[in-house]
Amino acid sequence: MIVDRPESHFIFVVPLDHIEYRYNYITLRGEPLTNKQYLEHWGKWLVFGLREEVEELARKLDPYVEEKKIPAVKYDRKLITEFQLNRCVMCVYCHDETKDEVWEILSALGVRDKAWMYERETLEKWLPGGVNLEKWIQGRGLDHENAERVRADARAKFKKMFADENEIFTGVYQ
């Protein structure tokens, strides 16, 4: 099911069960992942394209998400011009044990870019000192005080999110 919440920059493709019954799609063979497992194994294939291209691909991926062959997908609502990206980015999420099966689906649908990234790598980039967070701060021209506040918030958010490595991972609100 394609979930388009206007307040979010991202558009999601998730199983209808997730919307109706809070089904947790961050699993491996039906078992939800702990925070530790999430950081070690959860990731995404990155796909790039114009908005129309990623939208069309999202429609094609939707049935695979409903069948739970692909856990979830998210993509940019629009180009992120402040980062000078000239394409929208789509993230096709899965556990690394199933990434080859998911890649076969993507490849059959015409995806040619092959770029796998662990969520751990992405999260590290959004921690203080990480290239993404620092670029984000720079792009908004924040003064020292506000930049430090953003860094402290990021640090606290991630610390809280992964405080207990054996807890079931509960997701990142976006």
Partner: protein, 93 residues
Amino acid sequence: MKIDVRLNLLGVLGIKQSELALDTPADTTVASLIGLIDQHNPGFAAALSTDDGDLSPQFVFFVNGRNAMSLDGMKTRLNAGDVINVIPAIAGG
């Protein structure tokens, strides 16, 4: 040997050729491939490298879908038929 290179979302670098099919020597590494790409897109090598000669954290260099940093970085050996993708780190979600 043939290596396919796809340079995505690199408007910031003023990329001229975003898809390249390169014929490279057998002992090509990530570092030497970056040098070859630079011949088609001047400034590429400077942007992709740190002062210490490592891969810049501002970009992600994928070899057959795997981040070269999780392989052998600049020293990663490439093979015939490899597919290379390069993106800005900010595009990784």
